[in-house]
Symmetry: C2
Subunit: 668 residues, 2 copies
């Protein structure tokens, strides 16, 4: 069948209103029909690319570029090289990806191989589906990754465990190339070499792009091969899309028995779809790192992949692949969402124009931290550190000692934990540093627990002098960074939710920030719900609506201070309510709620106190599902409040419609 | 003057009952009399060694070996090379030590140079004296260090700040060699090279020993020069005790203007005193890493140094150096102290004999973690990771995935923070890992805030499924590790105080561990003091004695659970007291006290609640002074309780001698 014929047919399959995938039968047919391992791997890889794309379109997000650059490698590994990979036998080989965000590619392959159920294909990033980053709860996933740099250390531990328990098996770890900026990679190389753990092979998916920029532009890696060699590793480099190279390199590695090996695989980010492959000419930004492509791009990509597969099948005298279609998922976008991080970045830039001491630092998460405009306008005061959070934070300390005001950016999950000791070290120098931690909280729920930062208030909450603050609206975001720069003499940790939301509330018109004091967003008499940030407060509002329908008058208070509380404010404002509910977009342990409850005890406020927060490893899934699962959506909060109310009503604490406290006025 | 004459005289100066030091006048005399820079630097270095030893003897602790290996380097830098080092001029050079534990050597030199007051000489590790690790509050100290691996990143920040502000000046950073095991070192090298920050010079004090073992035995560094070169640095290597090599290398480095430079200085740990120099023949343990030497060793060392100085002065035709003597400080040792960490290690070893799945991991703090006996008896199940906490914890995750039970050791300050994200990552895999974190809390107060772990409960308290526990006695330490291994299906963080103490209490005879429930150590009626660990509970006991003398009956409760609380226990046991005092050997923010207070609010217990804990960066000093400074010694606790009692008495909450609650029976 010629190209044209296929295209016509593809148009009916991959149109504007449907997505296509390759069924397991179609995979089986190809595997049986094609006997040459090289040709077969190429076909399976491209068929997997079709399904990976389908999965990401279904999920609405996922890392295409990195999945595609690694697809050929994992296809060869899993279908031709590894023995009983991640299986139960005593000499089973182990494979996992340290970067982890190429998970869709591996899922796609595991589904094709029948190792994961085909029903999981549309369940990427869904509750009880396939997590955004690998998790050992999924069959054939060997390690939890998603936070970068840990993989070689984990492999070291696995290899030592194998030796302890008498198991055999090789261990193959995939890393990114941007990931090599993480110090732990180098920390882990030497012990593996010193102990001559030749069963470990690392494959660097060297696609030269990290997030949406060239690795060389972010933080050039220098001579990678020399670096690995200096750390005692056997090094080979070659084309990571050439199956003969993969075959020969791995065969060679099996002959090296006195040292660990690393294959620097030259790959192309987005490999397999022409317009997704690497940086477009003259472009400095890669557009297919994360997130689902547009439907138009999806269609073009799927058509290209299908065309190539069928052309190859035709060359091999085989029938074209059978595709199955599914409808495009419908997603409801917020109407007029507030984008706190962008507002923050805009306000920071406005201040930086006037304040030459402000320096912005980033760890390869530019666009998610609202600082693209800053970099464009003030590139001389923008420092891209790459995936090197520890270096970034200690460097910020050096900048602060040198008289600058560094504003440090990363995701909350990484900034608060990977650089935890470094934030503390800076704090002991008592110079001012601002830490801006985005992607905080339970949602987006798609990336999974490596990225859901629900532990950071605890992790940095006791750093001396560091005030933690989470704004709930664009306006409060602007106030927050202005307060951090202009008013707070010490250091600030600004915590941001990245999900754009339609907000049902606004902070009071005359609102000013006063440490440890909240603002009443919605008056009420029976219950007060205290929280922070747009996710909690939007759902508190929804809960208050539901409670109102049940005759319970619930106030909603924005308390953006995460580790500071004003006991006078607690007495005056919270002390009026018979029931006090705290919400945490964070674990219950050592979140804001425990601080509020402790303050109630210290101030002698007598009330029924209920704390709602996260109590287990966060679930991965669609935002609404994840919030509901953890009891943090409006209906769940309302239910919990009603349960807490009921016995109190019986005990005569005052009831719905019988105000025990006057409705507090909006205040700061 | 001949050797013999000097020795006789030295015997009268450096005897069994006095310490000797070199006065500033004596330094001045040498500096004026000796004009050859090389000879002068050698003399000053040895004179400084005398004073460094004096300081460490005065303090009772301090790092001699590392101070001595770096003394020649810093002497050359500060007296011959650096321009206005750490001074105010626009082109002042900057120097700091990234390893930081060589601080006594630098202090000694700064005092000799008149940059620090001579009155500080006897005040190493004293309150308002010279901190155990560098702190910018001390004049001419450029950065806070003591946690390893941060220095090159800090230098990067300082260099960038200089460029932003138009200042000149070179930046010289000293690192250790064991320190090169830290991943952050390698994380920081590439950005410095990529930006061609030629103003930065790193000097590696390559003394081949870390803590008390050979670097090569702990985690060999491989070809260090190749490694730095592969990361883009200009590398030279040479004798770090040869002033002509130092002079020529630094002069050469000044001609290299397109890249940063590193000098691998081959040095000898303990250099300058024959019996402190490196490992003794056939010995695998270095005996002069930290801690003051015996008085006998002190005398021999001082005599050797003085003899050499005077011999050199005699060769130069100069008078011998004048020494001043001071009495040996008197220290009161505890009589029958409990050593929790040793008891823990003993119990762990006992279990490991029966349980082949137990693997012990260490990050170069073997002797401080109570696992020397384990290593000696079960070397095959002991993994020394070196100064590589991130690698160690991720490797533990790999071991756990492979079916082993890793027990991971380091100081609490490093384990909880440097490996913070890694502990979380392991937790999400839901395999069992035990983290043993020693040197927890405010004391010993000598090392300073880099080592005083008063933030770790917060830092790891919200790791899902991780139970944090601090034992208060040898018996509870044994119970704790046994519970962690045998009873807790999940992971445990064991927090240990290392200070040996005479304990006034014992846990009840029938005591068993029940999550979230405490044990009454001392009954009482008016007040209950709740705490954990030997430091808090010993001081709570002392406070209770003082309170008893004032007519207030104070109970003392051991609540070893740091992030778990049983609300029934709170109601039953704490609910009986009119005044509840929580103690934290930790910051008030997100310590145990806030958990207890929050539980009081949630359970509706009505009482006066007072929380005592740390509220600022920990002070450095003698243990008793530091505890008093932070309000955690017995008298301070008693005072705070009395203040909390007083208004309550007036408000009719019940008073001293009028029991409001029956005295609870000892219970678990």
């Amino acid at each position: 069948m010629g190209e044209k014929d296929f295209s016509d047919r593809a148009l009916t399959l991959v149109g504007d209103d449907s997505l296509s995938y390759v069924s397991r039968e179609a995979f089986r047919a190809v595997r049986q029909a094609v006997t040459d391992p090289i040709a077969r791997a190429g076909l399976i890889a491209d068929l997997c690319r079709i399904n990976t794309l389908f999965m990401i379109m279904q999920a609405g997000s996922g890392h295409i570029g990195s999945s595609y650059s690694s697809t050929d490698i994992i296809t060869w590994l899993w279908t031709e090289y590894l023995r009983d990979p991640n299986g139960p036998s005593a000499d089973a080989d182990t494979y996992f990806s340290s970067k982890g965000h190429d998970a869709p590619a591996l899922y796609s392959l595991l589904i094709a191989m029948g190792k994961l159920g085909f029903d999981l294909l549309p369940k990427l990033r869904q509750l009880n589906g396939l997590p955004g980053h690998p998790d050992v709860s999924t069959p054939f996933i060997a390690a939890n990754t998603g936070s970068l740099g840990m993989g070689i250390s984990k492999a070291y531990g696995m290899a030592r465990a194998n030796r302890f328990t008498g198991r055999g098996g090789r261990i193959v770890v995939m890393t990114g190339d941007g990931e090599l900026q993480e110090g732990q990679i180098w920390e882990s190389l030497q012990p593996v070499a010193n102990e001559r753990l030749a069963e470990i092979t690392v494959i660097v998916d060297h696609n030269k792009l990290q997030s949406d920029s060239a690795v060389a532009a972010v933080s050039d890696l220098g001579p990678i091969e020399d670096k690995f060699r200096a750390f005692g590793w056997e090094v080979r480099r070659g084309d990571g899309h050439d199956f003969t190279v993969l075959r020969d390199t791995l065969a060679y590695f099996d002959t090296v028995t006195d040292k660990p090996k690393v294959f620097i695989a030259d790959t192309i980010k987005g490999k397999g779809v022409s317009f997704m492959e690497g940086l477009a000419c003259g472009d400095q930004t890669y557009h297919f790192h994360a997130g689902a492509p547009s439907l138009k791009d999806y269609g073009a990509a799927a058509r290209e992949l299908i065309a190539r597969v069928n052309a190859r099948l035709a060359d091999l005298g085989q029938a074209e692949v059978t595709l199955t279609s599914a409808p495009v998922p419908v997603r409801i976008a917020p109407k007029q969402p507030e984008r706190l991080v962008l507002a923050y970045g805009d306000e920071l830039l406005a201040m930086a124009r006037q304040r030459p001491e402000i320096v912005v630092m980033d760890a390869d998460l530019l666009s998610d931290c609202g600082i693209e405009a800053f970099k464009a306008e003030l590139p001389g005061r923008f420092i891209e550190c790459g995936i090197a959070e520890q270096h970034m934070v200690s460097a910020a300390g050096g900048l602060a000692l040198g008289g600058m005001l560094p504003v440090v950016h990363s995701f909350a999950c990484f900034l608060s934990s990977r650089a935890n000791e470094h934030i503390y070290n800076n704090a002991t120098e008592k110079k001012k540093v601002i830490y801006t931690a985005t992607l905080a909280g339970l949602v987006p729920g798609g990336p999974g627990h490596s990225h859901q930062s629900v532990r950071d208030i605890s992790a940095i909450g006791a750093v001396p002098g560091l005030v933690a603050f989470e704004p709930c609206s664009e306006r409060e975001a602007r106030l927050a960074i202005r307060w951090a720069v202009e008013q707070n003499p010490g250091s600030t940790y600004l915590r941001f939710v990245n999900v754009p939301l339609d907000l049902p509330y606004a902070v009071p018109a005359d609102y000013t920030l006063q440490a440890g004091r909240g603002a009443v967003l919605r008056p009420g008499t029976d219950v007060v719900i205290v929280g922070y940030g747009p996710v909690l407060l939007t759902n508190a509002w929804k809960a208050a609506d539901e409670l109102a329908a049940q005759g319970v008058s619930a106030a909603v208070i924005d308390l953006p201070w995460l580790n500071r509380i004003d006991e006078d404010w607690v007495r005056e404002t919270l002390g009026r309510f018979p029931t006090i509910v705290t919400l945490d977009n964070h674990y219950l342990e050592f979140g804001q709620g425990v601080m509020v409850a402790a303050a109630l005890a210290r101030t002698g406020v007598r009330a029924a106190v209920v704390s709602i927060g996260i109590t287990e490893v966060p679930a991965c899934g669609a935002n609404a599902d994840v919030l509901a699962y953890h009891g943090l959506d409006g209906p769940s909060i309302a239910r919990t409040v009603m349960q807490a109310q009921a016995p109190r009503l019986r005990q005569g604490f005052g009831g719905a419609g019988k105000p025990q406290a006057s409705s507090p006025k909006p205040q700061a």
